[in-house]
């Protein structure tokens, strides 16, 4: 059953936060796979659980959060059961991560070089001089001019874009098998966003590193990744290869996301955005979590939670509209109302 090509298999992951005001199920049964060298995007509005999912894979969920269920199979290891000590051998070495805020993600009191070589010294059996050479080489690869000078400078002397390049250099310095980039360009301005994404794509292709690119912006992913996972309210709602997803989105939420992304071919179409906001885990709706905002919501959706169902060519959707039995029942009940408009 296990695919030779498979690198990461997250199944039924549940990460909850145990706060003073009750349990917050931020990630509630998330499953997806990533193949070796594959470029995957996780998309969803803020608060849908993307960051918590990625931190769970890294074993970096902070108190009061905890992985309470599910498996994270990385190659043949189940990271969900790993201790912090075991995870340290994986982090920065096999799986690396880049964060959203380049301005605050580097330690202000140490030089770039100091922080860069730290990962190399940690995971590779090299001396300081070699680590320095490798670091400067990495800095050059991510397009930083005068890398040997930057090596000795402090983070505050670099711009946001440059710091994010440093973060990329740092994360790729140990040649990881998987790179998780959590909204790596959200904090940067538009022209620099494109450069950084291009750079990341080139590098991971060259190094044969798989990538999970996390974003709330579907527009970013079209040109970049092979496959898209759409998350909503702590769950995966749709999963498909990027081409099919853009051509024929199934889940009403995905459609909403796409409609709010401007496309060149239909400029005359009005830009629609999804009404309402992501529910907080504290007031999660019954039934389908999307139903209060869904234009196609049916009576059935209000009380019954849909499951993630596999459809043709491996794509997955969590929506009653694609359940024959339910649809049949709905049609009988109320004529043609509530039928999906494709």
């Amino acid at each position: 059953m296990k695919d030779e090509n498979q690198l990461l298999n997250v199944s039924n992951l549940q990460t909850h936060f145990f706060t003073e005001n009750g349990t917050v199920p931020s990630v509630d049964g998330v499953s997806f796979q990533v193949n070796k060298g594959e470029l995957v995007a996780i998309v969803g509005e803020s608060g849908s659980g993307k960051s918590v999912t990625s931190l769970s894979i890294m074993g970096l969920v902070e108190d009061p959060g905890k992985i309470v269920g599910g498996d994270i199979m990385f190659e043949d290891k189940n990271l969900a059961t790993y201790t912090n000590k075991q995870m340290r051998k994986i982090r920065g070495n096999d799986i690396a991560m880049i964060f959203q805020e380049p301005l605050t993600s580097l330690n202000p009191v140490f030089t770039i070089g100091n922080q860069l070589r730290e990962a190399i010294l940690q995971h590779q059996n090299v001396d300081k001089a070699t680590a320095k050479k490798m670091s400067i080489d990495m800095l050059t690869q991510v397009g930083i001019p005068r890398a040997d000078k930057v090596y000795n400078s402090f983070p505050h002397s670099l711009s946001g874009g440059m710091r994010q390049r440093v973060m990329i250099a740092m994360s790729l310095s140990c040649n990881p098998k998987l790179l998780i980039a959590d909204e790596p360009t959200t904090a940067l301005d538009v022209t620099i966003q494109a450069q950084i994404l291009e750079l990341m794509k080139d590098l991971v292709k060259k190094m044969d590193t798989a990538i999970i690119l996390i974003t709330h912006d579907l527009g970013v992913v079209a040109e970049l990744v092979d496959r898209v996972i759409v998350m909503y309210a702590g769950q995966v709602v749709e999963q498909s290869d990027v081409f099919t997803l853009f051509k024929d989105p199934k889940h009403p939420y995905t459609k909403g996301l796409l409609d709010s992304t401007p496309k060149i071919q239909d400029l005359n179409e009005e830009l629609i955005s999804i009404k309402g906001t992501v529910p907080t885990p504290a007031n999660m709706p019954e039934g389908c979590r999307f139903h209060p905002r869904c234009p196609h919501a049916m009576d059935h959706c209000i009380s019954h939670e849909p499951q993630l169902e596999t459809m043709e060519n491996g794509r997955e959707v969590r929506c009653w509209l694609f359940d024959e039995e339910v649809m049949e029942h709905e049609r009988q009940k109320s004529g043609n109302e509530g039928t999906p408009q494709k």
């Binding site: 706060t19 003073e20 005001n21 917050v24 509005e45 803020s46 608060g47 959200t186 538009v190 966003q193 494109a194 994404l197 709330h216 912006d217 527009g219 970013v220 040109e223 909403g256 996301l257 709010s260 992304t261 401007p262 060149i264 830009l271 955005s273 999804i274 906001t277 992501v278 907080t280 885990p281 504290a282 007031n283």
Partner: protein, 313 residues
């Protein structure tokens, strides 16, 4: 890449959902709300309890003390506490070298501690508030001079100024209140001035000014209410430090003078009998520690309630 329009505004949702309980609290009257917040904090409750007890003891010292402050019992000099070996039943905490009841002296000492603690804070508060308000509000040379003075006071330990004052004036309760008051005003002056500078720039204050409201009215109506909570918190915590300061100075023989009694003075007395009669020095110190602890607890709680920014610090 084209211009992106995101489906929803980016701001992340609040990490912790607003608890239902807090929302409910907002609707009730301020006093019930405070009471509820107080009971939620264990240390706050303990602090309030201690402070209440200390106040009652301080106010009703005459009624509560079993013996007079300087009443001597020659038959029972240096008697151990009643519950210790060799103690006499009438002296719960024992007696000192002159046969005076230690419990009674601690009770009378409470009054003195509170008097010095509160009044020197009042003196410092009034002086500092006036200096901070005027220098912040009017600015100019008044501000420059005040702030230079504040810098000087802050860069030198205030105990030095107090010692200089105490070396030229006759020691006693009033001198103590004066000396502590005129050295501690700077803390208030600086904080109040900062607050005034930020309040001054707000629209409603500018508006009041533009329609010709008198300066004093603006200060009273718009600035005082805004600095009030900061003022209360610093004052509460200052009472704690002042009580320790008074005890220290009295311990050194420069503070409260006999026949008045002070916890610090009792400690200085007890020090000489340490080898043989431990209770003389032990209980006054306990009284100071418990009182100060209570005030700190209460002050920290007040800070959390009045200034949500500082929560959990």
């Amino acid at each position: 890449m084209s211009q992106q329009v995101t489906p929803e505004p980016i701001p992340e949702p609040p990490v912790e959902p607003t608890p239902e309980s807090k929302r409910r609290l907002k609707k009730s009257s301020p006093i019930t709300r405070w009471a509820k917040l107080l009971l939620k904090s264990k240390t706050g409750t303990v602090g309030l309890f201690i402070v209440l007890v200390v106040f009652i003891v301080g106010i009703f010292a005459d009624q509560l003390a079993p013996f007079g402050v300087n009443e001597q019992n020659y038959a029972n000099m240096l008697a151990p506490p009643s519950w210790a070996e060799g103690g006499t039943s009438e002296h719960f905490l024992g007696t000192d070298n002159l046969g005076r009841d230690i419990l009674s002296r601690i009770i009378y000492g409470t009054t003195i501690s509170l008097l010095v603690g509160i009044f020197s804070v009042v003196v410092a508060g009034v002086l500092g508030m006036a200096a901070g308000l005027f220098s912040g509000y009017y600015g100019g040379w008044l501000d420059t001079i005040t702030m230079r003075l504040v810098d000087a006071f802050l860069s030198i330990p205030n105990i030095l100024f107090i010692l200089v004052i105490l070396s030229v004036l006759n020691p006693g309760i009033l001198t103590l209140i004066f000396a502590i008051g005129v050295t501690n005003w700077v803390i208030y002056a600086r904080l109040i001035r900062g607050e005034v500078l930020s309040v001054k720039e707000r629209e409603y204050v500018k508006a009041a000014k533009s329609i010709g409201t008198k300066n004093m009215t603006i200060i009273r109506r718009h600035i005082l209410p805004n600095v009030f909570s900061t003022f209360i918190v610093i004052s509460t915590l200052s009472v704690a430090t002042t009580i320790i300061l008074e005890a220290s100075l009295s311990f050194l023989g420069m503070g409260v003078q006999p026949p008045d009694v002070s916890w610090g003075y009792m400690l200085a007395d007890g020090r000489d009998y340490l080898a043989t009669n431990w209770w003389l020095a032990t209980f006054p110190g306990l009284a100071i520690t418990i009182t100060v602890l209570g005030i700190i607890f209460l002050g920290d709680w007040l800070r959390d309630v009045l200034d949500p920014r500082s929560q959990g610090r």
